[in-house]
Amino acid sequence: MGVGAIVRVDAPGRVVFGVVMDAAAYDETRLYTAAVLRQDPEEPLQPVPLGEVRMATDDDVRMALRMDGYTGGNRGTGIPVGTYGSAGLAAPVYLDADFLLGPEAAHLNITGVSGLATKTSAVEFLLASIFQTFPAHKGSVAALCFNVKGPDLCFLDQPAELSTEDLASYARLGLSPTPFDNVRYYAPCKPDGVNLNTLRTHPDLAANTEPLTWGLREVLEYAEVVLNRDDLDAKADAFIDFLADRVVGRDFQAPELHPQEWRVLTFADLEAFFRAIFDSLENSNRGDIWRTHHIATIRKVRNRLGNITTRAKGLVTDDGASNDLPWGAFADRSVYVVDVASVDPLAQDLVFARVVSKLREHLERRDLGVDHVVVFVDELNKYAPADGPDTYVRKMLLDLSERGRYLGLVLFSAQQFRSQVLRRVVGNAGTTIYGRMDPDELATAGYATLSPATKIKLATLPKGELMVRHPHFTQPVFLRFPRPCVLSGREGVERFPPAPDLPFDEAVARQLRSMDPGIATDRVRAIVDGRREDDVRRALARTRQLRPDDVLAYFTAALGRRVEPELVTRRTGVIPLRGTADPYSS
């Protein structure tokens, strides 16, 4: 018996369940302190009677953790999270889907030190468990994972070999040890616009890995993200709003700049628009103000937006052809992984902001394609830090944690140090999990309610063991979970080493091949040889957008003929036609 053991005390007419919180030894004698988990009957509340203490059985665990209320029967909502084990016991422990994915409570947060706390693994396992056991009567569910650390989540569709104990544990929990069978990967391009910026570039994995690219409109919708990081003023904000609301994607009338309506769809169009404003201000005597906006503000906004195209190059494209997540067509039990592990922080923020906002909008309108979405954000301390500027992403995560559950939008998050995360975000997590903890972290105020023995146990927790808080559990419970049945990032990159960056032409060929497998690299190489890369990217994007029958022919036509420069030196004419009168002179 040790800390975390669940015990049962029988007294006449009453059973009391408790969990051991502390233990002290006096020579041969052990003194255990237990906290009450449940009394049966609950009313009237009475002091714990004196009685014989026994270790809990499977059934006792079910009762002690009040799982009888939501497991079993045909409308059960139990989601296996691990096994409670003591003295050879391996009792399945369930979370209540109503409290994990809403509407009663929602969200999950997991804390613990790097490499030992098995945070990422636990989330992977739990997602698999949710996909396998989320009850049909609760509707559909999908997961959207941001990969923020190297190869972490890059192989969710690849099976791992599991030990016999792990397999037994899966069996005990009624789960099948299989990887996710419906996963789609999205990664921005590298700055060359054709190689993907992810470690999942092994050719065998190409089929469900595609570029994430956005154009001006997608970016401007979330321009706040960019502005928030910088010290933009209210005037610039107003001008951005003006652009987003009135100009981009609209037919905008500005006769002083241009007699026709403006159609600003791309960054190049926007640049032309800015240039027209500057030209018009320079050429007229209207001073430095264009439609109440000062030229300095306009220049500032133009620079900031230009900054995005530079820093988020590869995510942001300028051919009007974006490739986005399947908004409106999310599928039940699918995982969508957005890999932002190696993109610029600014681009990361943009991705977070846009993806989460889109999820939210679609769930609000009930047209996402699924009823619930679990959003997994690792390294939460980076995106919702306790201290630091109140960025758009932080506000958005807070909003998600506060209001998401009404929409079916659920946040699963992880970090090494919970104390470094904005309290209100983690505080809204209905379910909290701790792996192996850092002792200094345990000494911070947030852990004051834990007994000294519990803290010691947490600081020495072996891999695969977790302490779980869940609304139904009166006290935190220690349990074990099996390794997730997917390749870890480290194993994955060994088995599927990332393909080296392809030279531009080969990368283009690879992308064309994803539309028509018969296209040979050599032919593509001959076509794009010596061409400007942005022309090639534009043609590629148009081809991807139109998906023509003859991919290569279309691509070739879209690329257009190259016109080589001809150096013209000063040219002299022939001597005048002598004696020839002007045929039209009167």
Binding site: E282, R532, L559, R561, V563, L567, R571, G573, D582, P583
Partner: protein, 392 residues
């Protein structure tokens, strides 16, 4: 850095029957005069480069007079502005249907003019930090077009092309020249060029910042009246070429003083008028023309005139006006047939040329027939038939 942007000179264009004392079609002479005037202006403005955006000649085989004249005018520019590149592209009017025919424009190469007749060419003038992508009609008519983007090789990058930019024409397309290749605005990325010089549409039109149709220098289309109407709608006063400052992006119209005016007199509603009343009303209209109608190109549309009223007009007077004006067209229109409500589309009835144009553009054609040329020919036939009728 300044460039002169001219287009659609249509040298050799002929219309109406009046001839000069030397026996040349008067409108052909007018067209030449407008070009000479433009060249005078160009020489005075001394731009760093001169650009002619297609349709120098009205036809693939211009008259000798037109060829000699064009040669002389380009020679003037060459001699007076020895350092200025002159870029000339072929338009749909001066592009031969078959490459074997050879282009008359090649001749100008001898003058030191940089000519693009069939393929696009990118002329690079390092001493001016200027690069000009010259895209003739034929290059746009092919399936595989050239890329219409700057190559970043020069400080000033100019695109010159001849074709129909998608989406900028009036919805009633009666004034649009047929046979132009269609270009999407996103194909040439207007914001990326120092300047985009288009030819094909005869009414000066801004396509976007630093992108223009400079328009023709004379009314050289089959439908000058529609051109007048488009000009009025766009607030364009007459014809001009453009002097463009590539540093500021300002395109300054340099007006041409026309040899004569093309006047579409305010319409008359002749319904319920007797022949005498109508005759008086028409005479008033004619008398009200400032400076009179002598040597002008004039049209007066009168609606609601039944055939018998038209016949009773004083034809001696009409003949007098016809002799006085270079071209006088009294366009008497029958009363509209009363329309059965609920049938047919509401709105303007199409004119005969409109209907012909519409029909020919849709009609099935045997393989190998160039639709643009075919439509042009048909429309021109109808127009000349109408002219003859009007002139009788």
């Amino acid at each position: 850095m300044k460039i002169a942007h001219l287009a659609d000179l249509h040298l050799g264009f002929r219309q109406y029957h009046r001839q000069t004392p030397a026996g040349i079609n008067q409108r052909e002479a007018d067209t030449a005069l407008a070009f000479r005037q433009a060249v005078d202006g160009v020489l005075a403005a001394r731009p760093d480069a001169v650009i002619v955006a297609g349709d120098l000649f009205h036809s693939v085989r211009p008259t000798n007079a037109a060829i000699v004249f064009a040669f002389q005018q380009f020679q003037r520019i060459r001699a007076d502005l020895p350092d200025a590149p002159i870029v000339l592209i072929a338009g749909n009017h001066d592009t031969p249907r078959s490459t074997e025919t050879g282009s008359i424009l090649r001749l100008f190469d001898e003058l030191g003019v940089d000519v693009a007749t069939h393929e696009a060419r990118r002329f690079s003038y390092p001493q001016l930090e200027l690069s000009v992508l010259a895209v003739p009609h034929e290059a746009l008519a092919q399936a595989e077009r050239p890329v219409l983007r700057p190559d970043g090789s020069a400080r000033y990058e100019v695109l010159v092309a001849h074709g129909e930019v998608d989406g900028v024409f009036p919805s009633d397309r009666s004034t649009v020249e047929y046979g132009g290749a269609l270009v999407r605005a996103d194909e040439f990325g207007p914001g990326e060029w120092s300047y985009v010089a288009f030819g094909h549409y005869h009414v000066q039109t801004e396509l976007g910042p630093r992108a223009w149709y400079c328009g023709s220098l004379e009314y050289v289309s089959t439908n000058p009246w529609g051109e007048l109407r488009d000009e009025a709608e766009k607030g364009v006063a007459g014809k001009s070429w453009l002097l463009v400052n590539l540093d500021t992006g300002i395109a300054e119209p340099r007006p041409i003083i026309p040899a004569r005016r093309v006047l579409d007199l305010p319409r008359l509603d002749g319904s319920d008028m007797s022949a005498e009343e109508l005759q008086a009303a028409i005479s008033d209209r004619v008398a009200a023309v400032p400076g009179g109608i002598a040597d002008q190109v004039v049209r007066l549309v009168v609606t609601g005139v039944p055939r018998h009223v038209g016949r009773q007009l004083d034809h001696a007077v009409l003949r007098g006006w016809k002799a006085e004006a270079l071209h006088f067209q009294l366009d008497l229109r029958r009363p509209e047939p009363t329309r059965i409500t609920g049938v047919g589309a509401p709105g303007r009835r199409q004119t005969l040329p409109d209907i012909v144009q519409d029909y020919l553009s849709r009609r099935q054609l045997p393989a190998g027939i160039d639709r643009a040329a075919f439509v042009n020919e048909g429309v021109e036939l109808v127009a000349s038939a109408e002219r003859e009728l009007a002139e009788d």
